[in-house]
Symmetry: C2
Subunit: 138 residues, 2 copies
DNA sequence: CGCGATACCTGTAATCATTACAGGTTCCAA
DNA sequence: TTGGAACCTGTAATGATTACAGGTATCGCG
């Protein structure tokens, strides 16, 4: 039986976050000590680990909730889980594309900056005039 | 003189967002009609355009505030502006690296999924067991 | 000039995922 | 038994919007 601090250390998840997950119903209410302190079992640690890992992988809380629901109903077809993972992967890929375009644009902006005064600063110019951008970001 | 809706359409920025920018002091208070409605001039459109473009490029509100301050004090050395752009570019590059690692991991997860039932779903397995990951994401 | 639809006004609360804080209680080791 | 760390609850803050409620202005059309 873990206290919340031990669970926190075991899962690298802040104490406040654990209590938050309980409040939003993502973590089940654990047992309590006589003095009303939370006492966790291994199943809590596993579930929290799953949640934290999902969060690290960028899944939203609601996506993780869905994944956990899918897990709880064991032996059902995993196509739904797979589809979620694919959707998420595609979203990440889109984000990478957008950020790459952005990085290139920032590079161009920086190259335009001749090192003079603000009146001739390429960075300011580009920010003020969308037409100086090479890509559509919107 | 634009009403707020016209400015909204001209800059592709929601009406609520324009009022929000005014509230936080990012946009100056515009003139008002007799009936107390906001009336904007071109300089507002330009400034809002600058702000929106900065946001699209991923600059935070406070970064944009700094940039605008630097701009307002014209003819001062643009090294500070340049440095901000560089810092931001580097942050974007870091984010791209992290997301690329993440995308690769999601790909591996998806490939592990044999298409069977949830009990054998690679996606669930990886989420539940950090050791199945190839990279450190934390 | 009057009417009605649309656009506008203010102020407040919600969103998302946490984190921080205040003020009080419990636990555990020395 | 005592002292300090860890715990408790409840509330508010973060960042950048967005949404809503309840009321007022504007504008084109007849």
């Amino acid at each position: 039986m873990y206290a919340i601090g031990a669970l926190s250390r075991a899962t690298d998840c802040k104490v406040e976050t654990i209590r938050y997950y309980e409040k939003i119903g993502l973590m089940p209410e654990p047992a309590r000590s006589d003095g009303n302190q939370r006492r966790y079992a291994d199943r809590h640690r596993e579930r929290l680990h799953f949640i934290r890992h999902g969060r690290e992988l960028g899944f939203s809380i609601s996506a993780i909730r869905e994944l956990l629901d899918l897990c709880d109903r064991k032996h059902r077809d995993c196509a739904a889980v797979d589809a979620m993972a694919r959707r998420h992967r595609d979203a990440v890929a889109d984000r990478i594309r957008a950020l790459t375009a952005l990085r290139d644009e920032l590079d161009r902006m920086i190259r335009r900056c001749a090192g003079g005064d603000v009146a001739h600063c390429g960075v300011i110019e580009v920010l003020g005039d969308h037409r100086l951008c090479r890509h559509d970001h919107g």
